[in-house]
C-alpha cells in the first residue's frame, strides 16, 4: 500500500533547511520583540535541532499542549494591558516556535512555509527600509525554493539550481507585482486600528529644548527628510529648516508656551521664491519642516504666526509635500502680545547676566553715538562676545545644573548649539530685545547620485531669532560665531573620535583619505537607492495613484479594475508566450528530412511500419521498387551516418536536405 505524499516524513536535510529559512524570516523581529519571546523561540529552535539528532526527544501531544499554554502565558504576561499589533506578532513568533516542535511531515512543511511568508509580511509593519526589503526578498526566494523542491517527486539534490529556479519564477512574477502595485486601489483610511500608528521611539525634534536634547538627536544618522529642489540648491549657510519655535523658558528648558493668537500671516518677500518638495520621514510629531521662511501651506496643515507648519495629525507615515520659501524677507511689525511673550524671562537671571547685557547695550550706544536704534548693535556685540571669549563647540558638554545659562556663559563655556542658542535668546531678552528660540535642521548633504538633498537627524540645530525694528524677525545663529564650519560644511562627525568630555569637535574635511571618500560614496549610493525606494515605493499614495489614473484617463474604482484586468491579461499572455517559445519542440532537421522522405515513399505505396528501422525500410523499398534503389540507398546511408554515426557536419545535413527535396518517383 502506498503512503500518500503528505504523510511522508521529512528528512533531516529538509527539516534543517526549512528551519534555517524560517529563522531568517523571524530574526528581524528580534530587534523589537520582548526578550522572553526571543528566548522562547531560540529555545524551541535549539530543542528541535537536538531532536534531529535524537528523534525520541520530539514532544508528545501532552507536552506540546503544556508548552503551548506556557508560551501563550509568556505573551499575555508581557502584554498585560496592551492589546495591539505587537501581541499578534509575538503570538506569531511563538506559534512558529511551537510548529517547529511539531514539524514531522510534509503537511507540516506547507503550514510552516505559509507561516514563514506571513512572518515576512509582518516584518514590514516595523521597518520598511529598503535593506530589510532586500533581505526579505532573499528569504522569499528561499521559501519558494523549498516549495519547488517539495513539489518534485524526488529531490533534485542541487540546491543552487533550485534557488535559481525559484529566483526565476519570482522574477517572472515581478511584472505582475508592479502592475498590481500601480493599479490596486489604495484607501486613505485604515480598515481597523490596532494601535500601530503610535510609533514609539522615533527620533526627531521635540517640543521642548533642554541642554542635551539636541546633542542626543545628532548622534543619529537616521534621515529626517529629503528635499528635491526645482531649481538650484541654495548655499549651505542659507539652508535653515524651520521646526518648532520656542517662546517660553523656565530657566533650564524651553517650551512653546501658550498657543499664539491666530492672525493673518504676512511678510514681505525679498527676492525670488524657491520651489521644492520635501519627503518627510515619520516623526510621530506634527512639525512639517520648511526652509526659512515658508510661503505655502501643505494640505492638511496650518501655519502658525511664528511660521511653523503644523500638520493636523502626527506624521506617522512618510509624507511628501510641495513647498515654496523665501530666503530673504521682512516680517514687519510685532503685535503687542507677541512682543510681551518674546521678552518673557525666567526667574533665575543672575546679576552677572544683567551686567553682561548692560555692557553690550553700552557698547552699542557708544558705537551708534547715542542713537536709540541700537538693537542690531547689541546683537553684533553679543556675537562678538561669543567669538572672542574662549567658547568651544562640543558634543560632550560638561553637565550643567540649576542655572545652565549662567553656568554656560561664565564658567563651562563648552556646549552645543542648544546651549549657544538658548543662552543667546535669554541674554537678548535681558537686553530688552524680543527674541525666540528656533529648532530645526541646518544644512544637509546633496546626494550627487540622486540629485536631492538629504537632511539627517545629525543635522538637527537650534538658533535664535531677534526682532529688530524695521527689519522684523531676523535669524541669528550664535553657533556660527563659534564654529562657522558647523554651518558651512556637512556636519559629519566621527563620533568614535570625540568621546572625551569637552573636547572640541573635529569637523571632517571634504578630502580626507581614500577610504573615507569610498565610505562616503557608498553612503551616498545607499542613500540614492533609499531615496528611490522612498519615492517610488513608500511614497506611492492614493494621490499619486489618482494622478497616474488621470493620465491614463481612467476613473478611480472602475479604472483600477480595468487597468488591473487589462495589465494582467497582457502580462499573462506575454509570460505564456515566452514560456511557449522557450519550450517549443525543436525538430531535428535531419529527422525532419527523413520524415519527409518517408511520407513521399508512403504516397508511392510503401508505408513505413511503426517499428521499422531505416535500413530494413530501405530494403523493403528496393524489393518493391528496384528502380529507386540508387536514390533511396544514398538518402538512407546519409541519414544513418548523420543520425547514428559520428558525422554531424553542416554539409551532410544540407546534402540530405537537397537529396530529399530532389527525390521523386
Amino acid at each position: 500500500m502506498m503512503i500518500s505524499a503528505e504523510e511522508h516524513r521529512l528528512t533531516n536535510q529538509e527539516s534543517i533547511i526549512l528551519i534555517a529559512v524560517i529563522c531568517m524570516a523571524v530574526v528581524p523581529h528580534f530587534t523589537h520583540t520582548n526578550i522572553w519571546i526571543t528566548l522562547f523561540f531560540i529555545a524551541t529552535l535549539g530543542y528541535r535541532m537536538a531532536a534531529i539528532l535524537l528523534p525520541q526527544l520530539l514532544p508528545g501531544k501532552l507536552l506540546l499542549f503544556l508548552i503551548t499554554i506556557a508560551a501563550v502565558g509568556v505573551v499575555v504576561v508581557n502584554h498585560a494591558q496592551l492589546v495591539d499589533w505587537r501581541v499578534a506578532v509575538d503570538l506569531l513568533i511563538v506559534m512558529l516556535g511551537l510548529k517547529l516542535l511539531e514539524l514531522r511531515k510534509r503537511r507540516d512543511l506547507y503550514i510552516m512555509l505559509f507561516l514563514g511568508y506571513f512572518t515576512i509580511a509582518s516584518n514590514f509593519l516595523f521597518n520598511q527600509g529598503v535593506l530589510l526589503a532586500a533581505y526579505l526578498f532573499v528569504v522569499v526566494v528561499g521559501l519558494t525554493a523549498i516549495l519547488l523542491e517539495t513539489s518534485r517527486s524526488r529531490s533534485l539534490q542541487r540546491p543552487l539550481k533550485t534557488v535559481g529556479l525559484s529566483l526565476s519564477l519570482l522574477l517572472q512574477a515581478v511584472p505582475i507585482m508592479v502592475a498590481l502595485f500601480l493599479f490596486f486601489p489604495r484607501l486613505s483610511a485604515p480598515l481597523w486600528s490596532l494601535g500601530i500608528d503610535q510609533q514609539r521611539g522615533t527620533t526627531g525634534l521635540s517640543d521642548t529644548v533642554s541642554p542635551g536634547s539636541i546633542s542626543e538627536l545628532i548622534r543619529s544618522r537616521a534621515v529626517a527628510f529629503r528635499v528635491d529642489f526645482e531649481g538650484a540648491v541654495p548655499a549651505p549657510e542659507l539652508r535653515y529648516w524651520r521646526g518648532p519655535v520656542m517662546w517660553e523658558s523656565d530657566g533650564t528648558s524651553w517650551t512653546r508656551g501658550e498657543p499664539l493668537l491666530q492672525r493673518q500671516m504676512k511678510y514681505t518677500a525679498q527676492g525670488e521664491p524657491l520651489d521644492y518638495s520635501v519627503t518627510l520621514e515619520p516623526s510621530g510629531s506634527r512639525w512639517l519642516l520648511a526652509l526659512d521662511l515658508p510661503d505655502a501651506t501643505p494640505p492638511h496643515a496650518v501655519m502658525q504666526p511664528d511660521f511653523q507648519l503644523i500638520a493636523d495629525k502626527p506624521v506617522t507615515q512618510r509624507l511628501r509635500y510641495q513647498m515654496r520659501s523665501h530666503l530673504h524677507y521682512n516680517t514687519g511689525d510685532l503685535p503687542a502680545s507677541e512682543r510681551r511673550r518674546a521678552l518673557q524671562l525666567p526667574a533665575n537671571i543672575t546679576s552677572r547676566m544683567r551686567e553682561l547685557a548692560q555692557r553690550w547695550e553700552n557698547e552699542a550706544q557708544i558705537q551708534n553715538h547715542g542713537r536709540n536704534e541700537n538693537h542690531a548693535a547689541v546683537v553684533t556685540g553679543a556675537l562678538r562676545f561669543f567669538r572672542q571669549q574662549p567658547f568651544y563647540y562640543t558634543l560632550y558638554p560638561p553637565l550643567l545644573f540649576d542655572n545652565p545659562v549662567d553656568e554656560f556663559l561664565f564658567e563651562s563655556r563648552r556646549g552645543f548649539c542648544e546651549h549657544y542658542a538658548s543662552s543667546f535668546v535669554t541674554m537678548m531678552r535681558v537686553a530688552g530685545i524680543p527674541a525666540r528660540l528656533v529648532t530645526g535642521y541646518q544644512g544637509g548633504e546633496i546626494n550627487p547620485l540622486g540629485g536631492h538633498l538629504v537632511v539627517r537627524q545629525s543635522d538637527a540645530h537650534a538658533w535664535a531669532e531677534v526682532w529688530i525694528s524695521g527689519a522684523g524677525w531676523q535669524r541669528v545663529d550664535p553657533t556660527a560665531a563659534v564654529a562657522p564650519e558647523r554651518v558651512e560644511r556637512p556636519f559629519d562627525i566621527d563620533f568614535d573620535d570625540a568621546g572625551i568630555v569637552g573636547s572640541p569637535i573635529q569637523f571632517t574635511l571634504a578630502q580626507s583619505g581614500f577610504l573615507k571618500r569610498l565610505a562616503r560614496q557608498f553612503r551616498l549610493g545607499r542613500d540614492a537607492v533609499n531615496a528611490s525606494w522612498h519615492r517610488w515605493v513608500l511614497g506611492y499614495s492614493k494621490q499619486k495613484q489618482g494622478r497616474i489614473m488621470d493620465q491614463l484617463g481612467l476613473g478611480f474604482a472602475k479604472g483600477a479594475a480595468i487597468a488591473i484586468v487589462a495589465s494582467m491579461l497582457v502580462l499573462i499572455f506575454v509570460i505564456a508566450a515566452l514560456l511557449w517559445y522557450r519550450g517549443r519542440e525543436r525538430v531535428d532537421p535531419v529527422q525532419a528530412d527523413y520524415l519527409r522522405f518517408c511520407s513521399r515513399m508512403a504516397r508511392m505505396g510503401v508505408v513505413r511500419l511503426p517499428y521499422e528501422g531505416a535500413d530494413s525500410y530501405a530494403q523493403r523499398i528496393t524489393e518493391q521498387r528496384p528502380d529507386l534503389k540508387t536514390a533511396v540507398d544514398e538518402i538512407i546511408r546519409l541519414y544513418s551516418s548523420l543520425r547514428y554515426g559520428e558525422a554531424n557536419d553542416a554539409h551532410g545535413k544540407s546534402e540530405l536536405h537537397r537529396l530529399v527535396r530532389a527525390f521523386h518517383a
Binding site: Y117, F118, T150, R152, S153, R154, I176, L191, I575
Partner: protein, 314 residues
Amino acid sequence: MALSFPYRKCRADKDGAAHVAVRKIYIFPTRYGLLYGLLVFLILLISVNYANNPGFLLTFLLAGLGIVAMLHTWRNLVNLRLLTGRAAAVFAGQPATYEIRVRNSRESERPNIRLRLPAHDDVEMDLPAATTQSLTLHIGITRRGRQPLPQFKLSTHYPLGLLRAWCYVELEMHAVVYPAPGAAMPLTGDADHHSLDYKERSGGGSGADDFIGLRQYREGDALQQINWKTYAREQGLHINLFTVSSARSYWLEWDSLPGMKTEERLSTLCRGILDAGELQHEYGLRLPGVEIKPASGESHRHQCLTALALFGKE
C-alpha cells in the same frame, strides 16, 4: 443513454500515442493552493489597513507567483505524449499492470508527472529532458477476459504544489486476464474423453520414473505396461502410466470435464496447462471452436491461456 460529463479527453491517435493538447488541460488549486490564496488575502488586508507599501509589494509578488505557477503547472503537462507499453497477462484476482510510456520531447525537465487510475493512488516520477520513461499503473481486482485500461488521469503539482493540472487520458490497451488456476485435472476417464493422453513409455516399467496412474487398455498398447494386478481383480485391462522427464504429448480437453460450470472448467484447464508446463510436457488444447496443437514453451503456454481467457468473451 447514460449521462456523461462532457470533459475533454486525450485519446490515442492512429499511432497509439495520446498527445496532451493545449486545451485539454484542467487546472485547479490544491488545498495548499487554497490556503496560499487565503494567506495572500490576509497579507493584502494588513497592507491595506496600514497602507503598508512594502506589504503591498509582497502581496502582489506572491499573487504574481501564484499566476506564474499556474502557467508553469500547465506548461509541465502540455505536449507530453503517452504511449502504450507492456501490459503483463495475469491470472484472475491478481492485479493487472499496464506500462505507460511518457515521452518528453522538450529540452527541459518535467518534474512530478503523475498518473492515477480512479480509486487508486498516484504513481509519479520526474521526467528528464528529451526522454521517454515508463510508469506502471495497477488495477487491483481483475476478472477473466481482456481487461482494458480504463481512462486515467495525468497530472502534476509542479512547480509549487499549490496548483494541480490534469487531463483525462484514454489509451487503447488491454491486459489479458487468464482464469484463476483451479483444482488439478482428474487423471482417469473415458477412453474417448481422457483428459491426459500420455505418450507411453518406450522402455520397461522400471526406473526412476514415477507411477502416476492407470488407463484402460487400448489396442496396440505394449504388453509390458499392462497392470496385471487390476486384471487379476477382474477390474478390466489397464496399463500403467509413468511420468518421464522427456517430453510427452497429450491433449487438454474441454470435453473431458463434464458436469462442470464454464468458469470452473476453464480454471481446471488452466491448472492443467500450468502443471503441464511445469513438467515440460507437450500439450494441446481443445475448446469448443478452438484447437491448439500440442507444443511447449512460453509462447505456447500464453497462447493456450489466452484462449482460456478469451473463451466466450469475443
